[in-house]
């Protein structure tokens, strides 16, 4: 039975998980952008960020051919540069089998968004069928969206149940729960939704900021709210949940800021692709561009990195 008052439900949950000091968070994250990371440390950071990237294409115009070239890029990011592979390619369910064939035995995972991404506004049965379909096609990881409508209405039980059912449908596949932070409106809500999701998840599953399909995506501030929730949850329960900011992280410098946030909040145990990921499409080329700059000492042009930018 849904609770009668969503206000009361939100208030009770807030009481349980604690609220977020908005000004404190914003001041804290502003500090992350002032750290100076140079030379070896920078190269390490860039390569680590590269190894954490979920190279993503989520467009209506995706084709098997495009997925194939995406997979090649994922396995072999740049000619003449020694780098790790990216963590995963992230595609729509219909593209999973093409991606699976594309990555082969390279160790790059195939992640698939599912559950009526990005809005999630369809029947649970349909959403679960989508997850099962993607897993059957070979997806190693499933990125689901939460039922924001249920959360905002204070119907936390429904949100929780739906995540459990998706988790069951995933089988052995890793689950990433997208909170879609821009639709949750406040930091308090982000923290609450993080705790609800983490309460259901297995160690090694992820919570994720956004779909990348709305105006506001991953920022240092909402990343910070979520990794602090992960830290507090870990200290309480001993269960380590991963984190994936997605959308809007376009530059290598931004990705280093996020890594600094992780280092200073969660520590080294989270500085690997098993516990931290970047959902991004254009980030990879900027990482490569900066790595190549470090290697050669010369600033590089973006069009040398398979960017579809105009040849200016």
């Amino acid at each position: 039975m849904p609770p009668r008052s969503s206000h009361a439900a939100h208030a009770r949950l807030l009481d349980e998980v604690g609220s977020v000091d908005q000004v404190g968070i914003e001041e804290r994250v502003a500090k992350f952008t002032t750290r100076s990371v140079k030379k070896e440390a920078k190269i390490w950071g860039l390569k680590t960020a590269l190894s954490m990237t979920d190279l993503t294409t989520l467009e209506g115009k995706d084709t098997p051919g495009k997925i194939e070239s995406l997979c090649r890029k994922a396995i072999h990011p740049h000619e003449g540069l020694v780098t790790p592979t990216v963590a995963a390619v992230c595609v729509y369910p219909s593209m999973v089998r093409h991606a699976k064939a594309g990555v082969g035995a390279s160790g790059v995972k195939v992640a698939s968004v599912a559950t009526a991404f990005p809005s999630g506004q369809t029947h649970l049965k349909t959403r679960l069928a989508e997850v099962r379909g993607a897993v059957a096609d070979g997806a190693d990881e499933i990125d689901m969206v939460i039922n924001r409508g249920a959360f905002l209405a204070g119907d936390f039980a429904q949100m929780e149940d739906e995540i459990s059912e998706v988790l069951e449908a995933c089988g052995a596949a890793t689950l990433k729960v997208i909170l879609e932070v821009s639709e949750l409106e406040t930091f308090d809500n982000i923290r609450k939704a993080s705790f609800i999701a983490m309460g259901v998840l297995r160690p090694g599953d992820f919570i994720k900021t956004s779909t990348g399909k709305t105006t506001l995506n991953a920022t240092l501030a909402n990343n910070q709210v979520m990794i602090e929730a992960i830290r507090d949850f870990y200290l309480d329960t001993g269960i380590a949940i991963g984190m994936k900011p997605a959308g809007g992280i376009k530059t290598a410098k931004q990705s280093l800021h996020f890594l600094i946030a992780v280092k200073e909040t969660l520590g080294d145990a989270w500085l690997n692709k098993k516990r931290y990921r970047f959902g991004a499409s254009s980030l990879l080329n900027d990482l490569l561009r900066q790595l190549e700059k470090e290697r050669t000492g010369a600033y590089q042009a973006p069009y040398s990195f398979s960017d579809a930018s105009e040849s200016y």
């Binding site: 050669t296 000492g297 010369a298 600033y299 042009a301 973006p302 105009e310 200016y312």
Partner: protein, 292 residues
Amino acid sequence: MSAQPKSRIPVTKTPKVYIGGAFVRSESARTFKVTDRSGAFFANIPQCTRKDLRNAVEAAAKAGPGWARRTPYNRAQILYRLAEMIEARSGELVASLVQFGARRADAEKGVAVGVDRMIHYAGWADKYAQLLGSVNPVSSAHFNFTVPEPMGVVGVVAPDSPPLLGLISMIAPVIASGNTVVALASETVPYPAVLLGEMLATSDLPGGVVNLLTGFRKELVPTFATHAQIRAIYASAGPDDRKALRLGAAASVKRVRFSGTEGAAWLNDAAQGLERIGDFVELKTTWHPIGA
């Protein structure tokens, strides 16, 4: 009671560099002192770093496609408008040149020639393509023609003397054909370039088409040479800088052109013309099949 003149607190100006259509300080927050002809302190000028240069190149690359897509006629209008803006504030430019050591008559002449030079290239903007391009005779059923296209981001290293006319004379032919510019102003007399930036900002020139840096040559020349996205260099340089530019430009196969003009020769008509536009275009030849 008569009003006594109050002593005012002097309002001194913080010169900033013009990058991407905005006036910014160096990202490094470094400045260097500039003194006027009497040796008195004038201002702290941004001492730009290679990162500022990198940012300027990003801005120039962003502005590039839009600027190149404009019609030649429109680019001509904008260059002419730029000349109007310089003309209207020529007194200020003359005063600043005099303040840093130029004779008044020379400064006046220099600014007037600078305005005329801008108009000269405004005139060329919709005419150079007809002269640099061609229709080529070929012995097959093709219509074969060559058109000049802009190269992209061009780095300009301006002379110390004359600080303003040299800068204007080197920027104008490069942007006339649709290139965008990252320019390093004179190290010894940088302030007139700061003023020029303010005039660029109030003309119709889109932000990022011309970016003006101030700072030290020895710090910036190596980055001008090696930055892969700078497609050509137009430099007024001594033997050491020439060598550094040529060597650095090799890896990115960049075109390097040196200005042979010195001192008062910048005033001459020989310091302007079509060849300078031609130095910074790529020629594209098209083979178009036609019926026999």
